[in-house]
């Protein structure tokens, strides 16, 4: 899941219709594109699915950064397959969003001019090969925490897209962990890379779930609509509980001196990420925000002649077919 701080839209619809809509959701029915839905539901979903789609697209860049430097043919093939899957996820998600009445081109433009966001995590750089492990293990791991429950989300096309995405994401996470295993069982330099990757990606991964529940203003409506299935803090805790034993297994140290198992709660106690850093990243001041948006804008601008050429050719063909009929 790559959606953070999704603002829920207020809804001004007819109270009777709203109640009937809520009853459908409460009964566990799926809402389909042609069904009536509150304007706020539609807009919130566009924002959430759009942010997720954009994250998949921008998320290609930090991994693409290592595709050309992958250390073996097999690692190169696995990484290429993964990045290709991500572009595919972007495609299903844009299609799901299109059923809500917004085109892919419109969403792309909103990404490129900064009106729509993508996950904060992709504004961090990938500096060593171990980062390809850490991204799969931690970033895909955190994503899965949220995406698995979203397979039961109320909006049909979104839920169905999520089923496919989840299968591939859990494969990615295993691949990431496998890279980490190799590094942690490797030379001293490889171990150092692995620890450094965990040090850099730990807190940014925790930020992926969004702000603490007490500061999360938009959750209640989204949860009632079953667009959001769990609170930010629930998921973050679940992620920490799952990940800490994996780090121990790898022989790595989680960069949190206050991390400890709490017998009473049955969960780990841990330090919250620095939320001021999170807000800085959201406001465009992460280490790579400008690089990422520049890269996407350049790809879009450089590709304009190709898209125009393909459209022009398709139009010529169509005209020729009409003339022949």
């Amino acid at each position: 899941m790559y959606a953070q701080m999704i603002k829920s839209e207020a809804t001004q619809d007819d109270p009777e219709k709203l109640a009937a809509f809520q009853a459908r959701i409460d009964r566990g029915e799926k809402i389909e594109p042609k069904d009536w839905m509150p304007e706020g539901y539609r807009k919130t979903l566009i924002r959430q699915i759009g942010q997720h789609a954009h994250s998949e697209i921008v998320g290609q860049l930090p991994e693409g950064n290592w595709v050309t430097r992958a250390p073996t043919l097999e690692r190169k093939a696995i990484l290429l397959a993964k990045v290709q899957d991500e572009a595919g996820h972007g495609l299903y998600l844009y299609c799901a969003a299109e059923t809500l009445g917004v085109s892919r081109d419109e969403m792309t433009e909103m990404l490129l001019d900064g009106r729509m966001k993508y996950s904060s995590i992709f504004n961090y750089p990938t500096l060593t090969w171990a980062d390809m492990g850490a991204v799969g293990w931690l970033v895909d791991g955190a994503a899965i925490m949220n995406q698995v429950p979203l397979q039961r989300t109320s909006y049909g096309p979104y839920a169905r897209a999520m089923v496919r995405i989840c299968k591939e994401e859990s494969f990615h996470q295993r691949q990431g962990f496998d890279v980490m295993m190799k590094m942690c069982r490797g030379t001293d330099a490889q171990k150092r890379m692995a620890q450094d990757a965990l040090n850099r990606f730990w807190f940014p991964s925790l930020m992926m779930f969004g702000p603490s529940d007490k500061d999360s203003k938009h959750s209640a409506q989204s949860m009632a609509w079953k667009i959001k299935m769990n609170t930010n803090d629930e998921l973050r805790q679940k992620f920490v509980d799952q990940t800490v034993p994996q780090a121990e297994y790898l022989g790595l140290t989680v960069p949190d001196p206050d991390l400890r198992w709490n017998e009473e709660t049955g969960h780990y106690d841990f330090t919250e990420p620095d939320w001021s850093e999170f807000m800085d990243v959201l406001q465009g001041n992460g280490p790579c925000n400008r690089d990422r948006l520049e890269a996407r804008n350049k790809a879009w601008d450089d590709g304009a002649w190709v898209r125009e050429g393909l459209m022009a050719h398709a139009e010529k063909r169509r005209a020729a077919r009409v003339a022949a009929e």
């Binding site: 093939a77 290429l80 990045v83 190799k182 450089d302 304009a304 190709v306």
Partner: protein, 253 residues
């Protein structure tokens, strides 16, 4: 040259060409003109890297010197690479990347079709698997060359520029040397020159549909497939590709 030495050379030619083109295509990762093109380009790169594993894996086996496919890919310097000059040419704009793929794909498909009947069953098996993937590469690149050649004024101009720039690198694909003659004699592979008429016919048919003009010059740059004179570009590509293996020679990944 012994037959095995010639076979090793031949397998490196196949595997290095797929490796270098696969690498070049992977350089587009995340920056293609449209999402569908990102997916298709990554997918093609992935196919080519997979084929590289098979070709260089067999090359290493034939060589019998204890090297692996990865050793061949990551630990040889440019002069030991045996790829065609065409595929090491830089990506340029998307049009040049596409034209490079198209010119290669048409050759690659024909070569693999012939190799499915190789007297060496290992070669035939690799070709049988690869030809299915490459048939799709060739269809896709031809379709896009037609669409962009016959698209807008700008797309036409860019595709013509790409064709003019890359045409001198096509002759090498269908030129014969001692290795090729040895392979043909053993019925392991066809003589590249035998592929020329079919290649040219297919390429001209697509380029005509694309409203592009085939350059008249028959001049051909050579030196890739025998390693005698690569372009300056290959060394930079290898610097990137081989970085980790060179910097951390003791590591396994």
């Amino acid at each position: 040259m012994t037959r095995d030495a010639a076979l090793f050379e031949f397998l490196c030619r196949m595997g290095d060409s797929t490796l270098v083109l696969g690498h070049r295509l992977s350089e587009w990762c995340g920056t293609a003109p449209a999402l569908e093109e990102d997916i298709a380009t990554a997918n093609t790169a992935l196919d080519l890297i997979g084929q590289t594993q098979m070709w260089l894996g067999l090359a290493a086996e034939v060589e019998g010197a204890g090297r692996s496919a990865d050793d061949l890919a990551m630990r040889r310097d440019a002069w030991d690479f045996r790829n065609l000059l065409l595929v090491e040419q830089p990506n340029g704009d998307f049009g040049r990347t596409l034209m490079r793929s198209f010119l290669f794909d048409v050759w690659h498909r024909r070569m693999l079709e012939r190799l499915t009947a190789s007297s060496d069953p290992r070669v035939a098996a690799i070709a049988a698997k690869a030809v299915k993937e490459v048939a799709y590469h060739a269809d896709r690149s031809a379709e896009l060359v037609v669409a962009l050649g016959d698209g807008t004024e700008e797309s036409h101009r860019r595709m013509q520029d790409a064709l003019d720039r890359l045409w001198p690198y096509t002759g090498e694909m269908t030129s014969d040397d001692e290795v090729d003659r040895e392979m043909a004699e053993a019925r392991i592979a066809p003589l590249p020159s035998e592929l020329r008429p079919g290649w040219e016919e297919a390429v001209r048919a697509t380029l005509t549909q694309a409203t592009l003009t085939v350059p008249e010059s028959a001049f051909a740059h050579r030196g890739g497939k025998n390693g005698a004179r690569h372009s300056e570009h290959l060394g930079h590509m290898l610097t990137t590709m081989q970085w980790l293996q060179r910097a951390y020679p003791e590591a396994t990944w």
